[in-house]
Symmetry: C3
Subunit: 120 residues, 3 copies
């Protein structure tokens, strides 16, 4: 905990996934809500996608942040907005393309979350 | 919003991901629940999968539709059934294979969903 | 139902995804909670990931098990712990690497889950 997923469409070639992950994780650390080493993030480039049904080219970047349940709506809203700011700044974005950025916060059921760490 | 994910197993070679996405998005537009340009969909072919533990070959196609919270159970049920109809029609499906089709509707917490659009 | 997703970071080369899926499915069958043929599992190797912000190399294996809503907290907790035990045993794990294992149980809204099976 937390688990972050970032998905970005393949028509956004300037987005550097590794830079994106570092910036997002830095933002989560800076929020003061999480232990640094607990933050587990991954980035996936989406090769097959479609935004709407029209002909115009569109792309998106979507972040899902999954947290153990119990945080206040205010904290979750603030986390979402902080991550959105980072995501918008990951460009440059291609000219002539409509790009949608979104952040979703998901509660994970704390009562049945199971975890172990191996330090070898 | 909405976010649609379709996953299909690699033993369903006739499934055309781009056709699937267009048909699913058309169905979402036709529902009247969403603005056309808001529909963000992606398709992923699952290379490593297992259905159950038996030897018989099986595959699956699973759709997850994530919506901002607040829609009625009836509307969500109707959306699920409409998408399921589309999914079943995405074949032809291989002979001798048991294929499971499923659609899950997920509520996204409206209070902490963050979004921005860049039209460059 | 159920749907299982396992994600593992690309720095865990000894993890065999197909073996992992079979063991996880066996565990789900053994729980007595599911019909064997209903268990739909997939494994994804995560190529782009970051744990925290530090320099030390870290990896993770995360399982998400999605169930139709209605099971008791005790059963869900037990399922999570059983899966965690299996996951920890999927190694050997690389020396000098901190590996985090986690299992999350998600309820899927039973009222709007749609499903069909094709036996051709």
């Amino acid at each position: 905990m937390p688990h972050l997923h970032i998905e970005y469409t393949a028509n956004l070639p300037e987005l550097n996934a590794d830079v994106a992950l570092l910036r997002l994780n830095n933002t989560l650390v800076a929020s003061g809500q999480f232990a640094e080493a607990d933050i587990k993030s991954r980035a996936v480039k989406v090769e097959h996608f479609r935004v709407g049904t029209g002909l115009g080219e569109r792309g998106f970047v979507h972040v899902q942040l999954a947290l153990l349940s119990g945080r206040s709506p205010e904290i979750k809203k603030q986390l979402g907005e902080s991550l959105l700011t980072v995501v918008q700044d990951l460009g440059p974005w291609p000219a002539g393309l409509s790009v949608q950025f979104s952040v979703e916060i998901v509660d994970m059921d704390r009562g049945c979350y199971a975890k172990a760490i191996l330090d070898s």
